[in-house]
């Protein structure tokens, strides 16, 4: 991420405030109104105290019944009233600020979700810069609220500053001017100091994240076994220490040098106050100024100087979080600015043409890859190279090939997570880029190799395959039954409502159980929304023999009438499909039935032999 310019920060902060206001307009307004009251009250208290101190000697001299005595009583009432008011408003204001903060955080999360899910493809997720910005946006939540909080404070302190300046000015107008002017250099130094050290840390945030990574290696469960077996604890600690130091070193050094400047310039502020104080004291000793005036003005002058420096220091701290704001704001606007998947092919008119009324007959001709080439954005290895493949409607095809041959990529293109660089993919004769994306995807039932473990109830884990039918228990049951997981789900402590994650108060499933839950989800898409294209990427990798065998028995039924694409390393699974396609070097190199390919004695036959030989028995079973 580039270092933001002050202008970027300003713009991002302004947008951030706009978001705060939009997240909870009512609360934001109430907060502002309260700020006016709670800001004015302490200022009134300061003014009242000034008045009280200045008039008291006269009241002592003239007695309580004199006009001065009355003024003293009035000042006292003013102080009491102001203190009461600010004490009363204070807690309510805190509560409102709290509410606003929470609401805003949730609102920002939703905006982030909206912006991300609006990205139709996956290209952004390959982009490291996007990933960084997204990560930053996740925890930026409080930034704008801090800014708001700070502005509330500035207003309150500002009002007090004015009151103190006014009281100090009762001696002479130059007193507050001198005090303020002399405090400015120290304040500016603090501001510079904070932003320089803050930036130093920001630049090394990668090191800080690495330190955290090594910390987690040592204290979390997942790496526990390898950490111990390979005797890594001391190494992890040393690495953590190294990156921690790299993360803060520059900042610590800058702080030290910066401090000299801050001290020097702050001394100017102290000198300013000292001059004003001595002059006032001299004039009081000489009898040119009343003792009361001196008391009030000198307290105000010292208070003014302290408050100005403190306020500027606060301001610079508030800036810490705003370095990150521009990137967070950028993420929010990405989908509209540059979706990286060209959706312009689908005009509303065409969509209507392609999708007549629901249920209307379509000519089903299957899936066709025509000269498809593809390279992942930001890389230069061509994964698919003018690949041609026809899958007739209603038939099953198994894709085989070595790791990295492009099988999963082919599936990603079919799901339209990316568009091909060259060539086209058609379904029922229509380029998939011309379909409405959501409609098109609703025709697909897919289990991915790296399927998601939703830390949610079993009901959601299966139901997410077809949200619109997820409330229908019979559909859920049927999907689960098709992959043989129904009994296990219903035997869970809370049945379908059991959360599938121990850390969320539920239970943990084994790898094989998870895989069947994910399969049930794909089945849900099939049962619940009539998806007619079935894609199974490594559906049996974690299943044990018995379960794989059961699934094998179900396969014909699962894929009946569906156009099915199956990817697997297990040839026992591959043989479920009627036709086998071997992909190598980004192209289809062999294509045919199992027997044909074996007879041809090519690459498939060789790979098959490698695996099958392990199962061949010496005469006992053939």
């Amino acid at each position: 991420m580039d270092q933001p310019t002050p202008r970027d920060e300003l713009v991002a902060n302004a947008r951030g405030m706009g978001l705060v206001a939009r997240s909870a307009p009512g609360l934001a307004f109430i907060l502002l109104a309260m700020t006016v009251v709670s800001g004015a009250a302490p200022a009134v208290a300061v003014a009242g105290t000034g008045k009280f101190l200045a008039t008291l000697p006269e009241a002592i001299a003239a007695g309580a019944a004199s006009p001065a005595g009355r003024e003293v009583r009035e000042a006292l009432v003013l102080i009491a009233g102001a203190v009461f008011l600010s004490q009363l408003v204070g807690p309510l204001q805190q509560a409102v600020l709290f509410g606003l903060q929470r609401k805003f955080e949730a609102y920002l999360s939703r905006r982030l979700m909206t912006a991300t899910v609006a990205l139709p493809g996956l290209a952004y997720f390959e982009d490291p810069e996007f990933r960084d910005e997204l990560a930053v946006a996740h925890w930026i939540g409080f930034g704008p609220v801090h800014t708001l909080q700070f502005m509330v404070q500035v207003f309150q302190q500002g009002a007090q500053l004015v009151a103190m300046a006014a009281v100090a000015a009762t001696y002479a107008g130059w007193v507050p001017v001198l005090v303020l002017l002399s405090a400015v250099p120290g304040g500016v130094a603090s501001w510079r100091f904070e932003s320089i050290t803050g930036l130093a840390r920001w630049r090394r945030s990668e090191d800080t994240r690495r330190a955290e990574y090594y910390r987690n290696l040592a204290v979390t469960r997942e790496p526990g076994k390898e950490l111990r077996i390979f005797s890594l604890p001391a190494w992890a600690r040393a690495r953590q220490a190294r990156h921690w130091l790299a993360g803060v070193q520059e900042m610590l050094a800058l702080r030290r040098t910066g401090l000299q400047w801050v001290l020097g310039l702050h001394a100017v502020a102290v000198a300013g106050v000292a001059v004003a104080y001595v002059v006032m004291l001299r004039s009081t000793i000489d009898g040119r100024t009343a003792v009361g005036t001196f008391t009030a003005a000198s307290i105000a002058a010292v208070g003014l100087s302290t408050a100005v420096v403190a306020m500027l220091r606060e301001a610079s701290r508030a800036r810490r979080s705003s370095f990150y704001l521009p990137s967070a704001m950028r993420v929010l606007g990405l989908a509209e600015a540059d979706p990286r998947l060209d959706l312009s092919g689908t005009t509303p008119a065409r969509r209507a043409h392609l999708h007549p009324a629901q249920g209307a007959a379509r000519a089903r001709t299957g899936i066709r890859f025509q000269g498809v080439s593809f390279t992942y954005p930001g890389t230069d290895r061509r994964i698919l190279d003018r690949l041609d493949l026809d899958i007739e409607a209603g038939t099953s095809v198994a894709l085989v090939g070595e790791n990295g041959a492009g099988k999963t990529t082919l599936i990603k293109l079919l799901c339209r997570f990316y568009d091909p660089d060259e060539g086209r993919i058609t379904v029922d004769g229509v380029d998939i880029r011309e379909f409405d994306l959501d409609d098109y995807r609703s025709r697909l039932a897919v289990i991915f190799q790296d399927f998601v473990h939703y830390n949610l109830p079993a009901r959601d884990n299966v139901g997410f395959g077809a949200l619109q039918r997820a409330g229908d228990a019979s559909v859920l049951r049927e999907a689960a039954a098709r992959v043989g997981i129904l009994e296990q789900i219903e035997a869970l402590p809370e049945g379908w409502d059991t959360t599938l994650a121990r850390e969320f108060g539920g239970v943990d499933l084994s790898g094989g159980e998870w895989q069947r839950v994910a399969l049930a989800r794909a089945m849900m898409a099939q049962v619940g929304r009539d998806a007619d294209l079935l894609v199974l990427d490594e559906p049996t990798a974690s299943l044990d023999v018995r379960i794989e065998n059961e699934l094998y028995g179900h396969f014909a039924e699962l894929s009946r009438g569906k156009t099915t694409l199956l990817v697997s390393h297990r040839f026992s699974t591959v043989r479920m499909a009627g036709r086998i396609v071997l992909v190598a070097g980004g192209r289809v190199v062999e294509d045919g039935g199992h027997e044909t390919l074996i007879a041809a004695g090519g690459r498939y036959a060789e790979l098959y032999e490698v695996q099958a030989s392990h199962y061949r028995l010496t005469g006992t079973l053939e």
Partner: protein, 598 residues
């Protein structure tokens, strides 16, 4: 309650110990300055009084003298404040870091895995990890308390000098302190109750925005649904928290009323005394300044005290971890038997039973088994049969509940554990996706050789990871994974080969553990890997390690010299492939089931 208190004191002792260890001089300086600062407000009040009294009493020389002294003090205090705030951040960072290091040390020095795997323990460890900023707060809290204590004491003393009745000021506002303290405490408590929902909201956010779930979210059109759930959930708990906060704000208002009354009362009282001639003008100036400060400090004390409630909660768990005595007790190197360079006779399980701590179910029951040196053993069985538990005992992540495991007759519990692990190589099903550069992701398998690119390369070749590495833009120096800058993510199969290469890094292992190492590999790679292991085990059968293989795949299993079939935590069959097939038991049945499809 007093128990809790003494625990809190102990938490502070530990944190202070770390702060002092991090930078002794700075820590002392900081606590002193915090105390001095606390009193500075009182000093200002006193000086103002003295100056004003001197002026009223017509002693100009004295007034100027005290005035100048005050200015000097003011200047010193103002500049010291700058230094102190720097010291505080500096020391805070160092203390936090010291705490992190301590946490790493305590957690990772436990030889076993119980504290990470047992849910009720894991929750504690996780809490300490997630709130590692808390010790820093403990530190600033202590600092603030020191400031409040000194300041308040000084204020009360000064007020008492003006008039004894003024001592009542802190007493009058005391109910307010209690109200506020309770407020803060309940606030923290309420937060603990909404924590599970907040985690769930976080999960929705992650599902919608992270790459891992991006495919399914798009395919199943889950986006709007997840957003809606997030909205409902957050509205619900935020609404509750806000209502709660508002309700409690009224108690705060009442407390504020008391503060206001106390303050106005004190100022009015001393004003009345002055007019009555019983107090000087200076006394009034003093009370005006000191009373406000005192009330402010009382409020601050309430806030800080409430932090104690939160701190004691986290601190409890932190202390628990510090005092955690693992069930796997390691003998000190001096008393332990040295680990053998290679296994001469074999490894024996003698009547081994095992139940995970905190559970009821026995996962291994009376397992007896002898594994001769240099053999390859395959563990077979359905999910939950006890294969992985047996492996965990062998790696000594846990100790058996009954019986013992011996290596050449020496109980594993009496053996130098570091030495034994140095002779163990392993690859697990749930291997780590190390976000390191490629050479290190392999090299950590044998730390002394982490920079030895030749050995790293050799292990990579053996595991078939060399082809993965060749394809990387920067070869062995490519950052792996997508967590860090310029990282390249691998496919699951590629990650697995890296993990295997790591498991092969030990130069001459006595034991090699492969727990489902090939689930994501293609047939050719799988075959190569097996061939490698088979040859490792056999080349000069004098040298080869004992290899333990866990797998569902019979193609792998049949290559082993010895196959052990586990069922419900017991050994059901032991023998070679041919023997077991001939026996026609469970093994034969499962094998035929898989073979029939080829």
């Amino acid at each position: 309650m007093s128990g809790t208190f003494s625990r809190v004191v102990r938490v502070y002792r530990v944190i202070l110990g770390l702060a002092f260890a991090a930078a002794k001089g700075k820590a002392v300086a900081l606590f002193l300055t915090a105390g001095i600062f606390g009193m500075f407000g009182a000093v200002t009040g006193l000086v103002t009084k003295l100056v004003v009294d001197a002026l009223s009493g017509g002693d100009p020389g004295r007034a100027m003298g005290i005035g100048v002294l005050y200015l000097v003090l003011y200047g010193v205090a103002a500049l010291m404040d700058d230094v102190a705030s720097l010291l505080q951040s500096d020391l805070g960072e160092r203390t936090s870091q010291a705490v992190e290091q301590k946490l790493m040390e305590v957690s990772s020095s436990a030889a076993g895995l119980e504290h990470l795997e047992r849910p009720e323990y894991a929750d504690k460890v996780k809490l300490v990890k997630d709130r590692s900023f808390i010790p820093y707060f403990a530190f600033t809290n202590l600092n603030a308390m020191s400031s409040v204590l000194f300041g308040l004491t000084a204020a009360v003393v000064l007020l008492a000098f003006v008039h004894p009745v003024l001592i009542l000021l802190p007493v009058v506002v005391a109910p307010g302190v209690v109200i506020q303290f309770e407020n803060y405490r309940k606030h923290f408590k309420r937060h603990d109750r909404t924590a599970p929902d907040e985690r769930l909201a976080r999960h929705y956010l992650e599902l919608a925005t992270e790459p891992a779930s991006a495919k399914e979210v798009r395919l199943f059109g889950l986006g709007p649904h997840l957003i809606e759930r997030h909205r409902k959930l957050t509205d619900e708990y935020n609404g509750m928290l806000f209502a709660d906060q508002l309700r409690r704000a009224w108690a705060g208002v009442a407390a504020g009323g008391l503060y206001g009354a106390g303050l106005a009362g004190a100022i009015g009282f001393v004003g009345w005394l002055a007019i009555d001639g019983r107090a000087t003008l200076g006394d009034v100036a003093l009370v005006v300044q000191v009373a406000r400060m005192a009330v402010g400090q009382v409020q601050g004390a309430a806030r800080q005290a409430a932090w104690l409630a939160e701190l004691s909660f986290v601190g409890e768990r932190y202390l628990w971890l510090l005092e955690y005595r693992p069930t796997v007790v390691v003998k000190p190197a001096g008393e332990a038997a040295p680990a053998p360079a290679r296994v001469e006779a074999g490894i024996a399980f003698e009547g081994v039973s095992f139940t995970y701590p905190g559970t009821e179910e026995q996962v291994l029951s009376d397992v007896s088994l002898f594994i001769p040196a240099h053999t390859t053993v395959a563990l077979v069985g359905e999910n939950g049969a006890g294969k992985t538990s047996l492996v965990k005992l062998l790696c000594r992540f846990y100790d058996p509940t009954a019986g013992r495991i011996t290596v050449d007759g020496v109980d594993l519990r009496d053996m130098d554990l570091d030495g034994w692990r140095e002779r163990t190589g392993a690859a697990f099903q749930d291997f780590v996706h190390f976000q390191l550069v490629a050479s290190e992701a392999v090299g950590v398998g044998d730390l002394p050789a982490i920079d030895d690119l030749e050995r790293v390369g050799a292990s990579a070749r053996q595991a078939g990871a060399d082809r993965v590495i060749e394809r990387l833009p920067g070869g062995l120096s490519t950052q792996l994974g997508r967590w860090f800058e310029n990282g390249v993510d691998l496919s699951e199969g590629e990650w697995q080969r890296v993990a295997l290469a790591r498991g092969l890094m030990r130069p001459a292992p006595a034991l090699l553990v492969l727990d489902e190492p090939t689930a994501s590999l293609d047939p050719r790679a799988e075959h190569e890997v097996f061939a490698t292991f088979a040859s490792m085990a056999r080349t000069g059968s004098e040298e080869g390690p004992i290899t333990i293989l866990v797998s569902h795949r019979f193609s792998t299993v049949r290559m082993a010299d010895m196959i052990v079939v586990l069922h419900d935590g017991r050994i059901e069959e032991v023998g070679s492939h041919d023997e077991l097939l001939a026996a026609g038991g469970r093994y034969a049945q499962l094998f035929r089931m898989q073979a029939s499809r080829y």
